[in-house]
Symmetry: C2
Subunit: 313 residues, 2 copies
């Protein structure tokens, strides 16, 4: 297989593991990179010191390229950027902020910059900022997302129509079939989050992993659009949000309900009632906890099988 994303990242398979808070530390990133995909450390839940440690451990555990995902709204953003420059991280994924500010600086140190967008407006802004590739994240994706509710089926062709740089599709992708479908729609590669949350190497709490496997259709929702929209499993914490909406709570009240540390509480510490459990809509299709290497191998096998099935159509 040959394509622009494989060339850009120097990887074997066009599978990017999403950089996720509380789930994707060096163990997961190294395992994915060792298996032919692109492993991504999620800096969003890390202090600068912790990020540095994860980058160094990831490097010690894989000879292949890996990346760091940096949300651009964090108080640590600037320090995180300095760390990945100093540590010679080859690829940075930036998200949830303005790509104008950091892209050139990162690129001037030879770092490849990929920006995550959820609509055409931000895609064009990122292209203007000179990013090397885009992640196009549909409505069905887990965690933080856009307000336009554009699904992967509509977003990928829309971005493809207006943008020429390499594009990675995200949202609703967990298997070889969905990977092939995303590539058919115009993506060069896919980013997979939820399925790697339930990998052996993910640092998600086992309670959270089991809750994902037990989840059914309709169990996730994109909520808190007044703050930063986020897709998560419905639970007791979500019931509180729903109640707040029913009494017309304003943003300040929603912020107070959200409080601090909800995602850590749920995803890392396993509090299924009061934690925030960020996950994609595709959770209802996930079946088991597997090593990252097996996940990638299964996806690629199914991708090839489906491709061959199509030829016979």
């Amino acid at each position: 297989m040959k394509n622009r994303i494989l060339d850009l990242f120097s990887i074997k398979y066009p599978i990017v593991q999403a950089g996720m808070v509380w789930c994707s530390g060096w163990r997961l990133a190294a395992a994915v990179s060792n298996s032919g995909g692109l492993g991504v450390i999620g800096a969003g839940s890390m202090s600068p010191d912790l990020l540095k440690e994860h980058v160094q451990k990831c490097r010690s555990n894989t000879h292949n390229n890996f990346a760091v995902n940096i949300p651009l709204f964090s108080k640590y953003t600037s320090t995180h950027i300095d760390i990945i420059i100093k540590e010679n991280v080859p690829i940075a994924f930036t998200s949830a902020g303005n790509p104008e500010i950091w892209t050139k600086k990162l690129q001037s140190h030879g770092i490849i910059v990929v920006h995550v967008i959820s609509n055409l407006k931000f895609a064009l802004k990122a292209v203007n900022a000179g990013v090397d590739a885009l992640v196009c994240e549909g409505f069905e994706a887990g965690g933080h997302n856009g307000r336009d509710e554009t699904t992967t089926f509509c977003l990928v062709p829309l971005i493809k129509k207006h943008v020429t740089i390499p594009m990675i599709a995200a949202g609703g992708i967990s298997c070889g079939k969905s990977m092939l479908a995303a590539i058919v729609l115009g993506a060069d590669a896919v980013q997979i989050g939820s399925r790697f949350v339930v990998s052996d190497e993910s640092s998600a709490h086992i309670n959270f992993k089991n809750q994902i496997l037990a989840s059914k259709e309709g169990d996730t929702i994109l909520t808190l659009k007044e703050l930063t929209p986020v897709r998560m499993l419905k639970n007791n914490f979500y019931n509180k949000i729903e109640y707040a909406y029913s009494i017309k709570a304003n943003s300040d009240m929603l912020k107070e309900i959200l409080g601090k540390g909800r995602a850590k509480k749920g995803m890392f510490l396993g509090d299924l009632d009061d934690g925030e459990l960020e996950i994609g809509q595709v959770a209802c299709l996930l079946e088991s906890i597997q090593p990252a290497s097996l996940i990638i191998q299964e996806i690629i096998n199914e991708f090839n099988f489906e491709k061959n099935r199509l030829i016979k159509l």
Copy 2:
């Protein structure tokens, strides 16, 4: 090309034109059936007499199979069912109601029954009722839809995993690429609505067609979930709904705002301000008004082109 849907409907291409209120009368249905797809008359906006007239005119204008879509919540449902039996319509699409009630009766007259669902629960219910095939409609689809917000990318593989009868994917599909992607995800065929709304033969008002072509990403929304959820273009009527939500309107107040005849006003009479403009999220990708025959030919050409591109991957 060979597959179960082509055999079931005796058609050439696995493209079903969605049966839509105010847009899909005999002209559109006959044009689609004459072009190798399955044309579907939308009975939802027709009185029994009008439906009879459209069925007879459709039959006079095509030698190929066509279908009628019957929403199961209408005051005319029973009369509509009698008409399609009496007129020997070969295929019925039922939607928005319980398939238990009518499936066996229709089938006992040799009519093929396809039921439209938007989640797994209703899919299993329809299979239990003995329907011959399913339309699986994702969150991005226009018009009436489910409450679970499950997108095409997640819904199609989920239904495929649990159901063995033939399956038609709907929602976000308007071109050969999205058709191929849906088939990759597990569908046997696709149902296309929005693109046929902007066909020459559609009975949608020209104002509505032009508004669709001018629409941008984020311009449609799935709203009125407290009544029957519906995806439509945002306009002055939608602003009224939004205001009603902001003051915590209850279902009765929402019903009063909706009133009667909104869809006719917007889609058929062209009132872009106060009408209900039902259309899918894919509207932002549509570019021109074309004859149905050209739409189908373009889709099939792109489908074949993309299939050949994949082979070389």
